[in-house]
């Protein structure tokens, strides 16, 4: 396949304009007509192109195993998922873990804890730890993307579970990887970060454990999650890299580590779409476009 670094920029551009997007949408529609669905092809599609928003939730559910590959099982399995959701909510209400005023993200957390047998005893009241905060952060973002509560809970649960199973081992290596690519792209900035002693303190939790939930607005975030859900955690490194590159001038002007961390933890929300587009381009440049064209 021809190496064309411009391609994804263009596809993102045409997606907005509507031409290229129409073509991609059609090929996705063809894939979605398969029975059973070809998960590999769906993953490849979603690695290469942004998912059209009208199909995003459906594709995510299939890729995360919430719905099985056989489309004629979707109604049955969807019904099971709904029952499971309702059973758990009901039990938590009866046991008074939740009530009508509990925020939905906290309901999801309790549900997740119940299913994973880590629901704390009622009397043991502890403030949420870091892991809970990661969960809540991802939940809040997912809630902005998904309207249906049943879908939302299942997507949060399976997104987080799949992320830990698939990428748990890679997580500790991502900061090193970021350092490597930064040395390729902008050694001066890397040097500045080293000199300031901020390299070890960058907001890796926000970037990698939370997959940018609470960092990027949902419209940009979902394009990153398309890649994560379809099988890449490397994309996270490139989004982080692109954030550093985009704010290079500001960062070069800060020398205090805490100032830099503060800025990076609350980046401006204006041009995040461009950051994500450039990050995806960089990711394709270094890691290659997935083969098997659609």
């Amino acid at each position: 396949m021809a190496d064309d670094p411009q391609r994804n920029f263009r596809s993102a551009y045409y997606e907005k304009v509507g031409f290229r997007g129409v073509e991609e949408k059609k090929s996705l529609e063809i894939l979605l007509k398969d029975n059973p669905l070809d998960l590999e092809k769906l993953s490849t599609f979603s690695q290469r192109f942004p998912l059209p928003s009208m199909y995003r939730i459906h594709v995510w559910k299939v890729l995360l195993g919430i719905l099985p590959p056989h489309s004629d099982s979707h109604a049955l399995v969807g019904g099971y998922r709904k029952e499971q959701y309702e059973d758990i909510v009901e039990a938590l209400e009866v046991m008074r873990y939740i009530n009508t005023s509990t925020p939905s993200t906290h309901i999801y957390l309790r549900m997740f804890q119940l299913e994973n047998q880590v629901l704390p005893r009622c009397s043991e009241t502890s403030p949420p730890d870091e892991e809970n905060e990661d969960f809540l952060s991802i939940s809040r973002a997912m809630e902005e993307i998904v309207d249906d509560r049943v879908d939302c809970y299942w997507l949060i649960k399976c997104f987080i579970s799949q992320f830990h199973t698939k990428f748990g081992d890679s997580m500790p290596h991502l900061p090193k990887s970021l350092e490597h690519y930064l040395s390729q792209e902008e050694p001066r900035l890397l040097n500045h970060l080293k000199v300031c002693g901020v390299l070890a303190q960058l907001p890796y939790g926000l970037w990698f454990r939370r997959c940018f939930a609470g960092c990027l607005p949902e419209s940009s975030l979902q394009r990153v999650w398309d890649k994560v859900i379809s099988g890449s955690c490397k994309i996270l490194v490139f989004v982080a890299l692109e954030i550093l590159l985009s704010y290079k001038i500001i960062l070069m002007g800060i020398s205090r580590p805490d100032g830099m961390v503060k800025f990076l933890s609350n980046i401006p929300q204006e041009n995040t779409d461009a950051i994500v587009t450039k990050a995806i381009d960089l990711w394709h440049k270094y890691c290659g476009n997935p083969v098997h064209a659609v």
Binding site: D87, A91, V94, R96, Y97, I98, N99, S101, H106, P127
Partner: protein, 64 residues
């Protein structure tokens, strides 16, 4: 032979389903029991229960 596989699959699914329904009935009984017990505790010791033991009503707030 294919019919055979399909039948077996169907039977397995039904078994899983009935296991679920049985468990669900148990849950419902326990839930009723619990609700009853909560109201009993509240009636019998309306003040001491809120003071000494975990108040049933307020638990959801602990995490916020």
């Amino acid at each position: 032979f294919l019919e055979d596989v399909k039948c077996q699959a169907k039977a397995e699914l039904q078994a899983s389903d009935s296991r679920y329904r049985a468990q669900r009935r148990i849950t419902q009984l326990l839930q009723t029991e619990l609700l009853q017990l909560y109201s009993q505790v509240e009636v019998e010791a309306p003040t001491s229960s809120t003071a000494t033991s975990s108040p049933p009503g307020g638990r959801a707030d602990t995490i916020t």
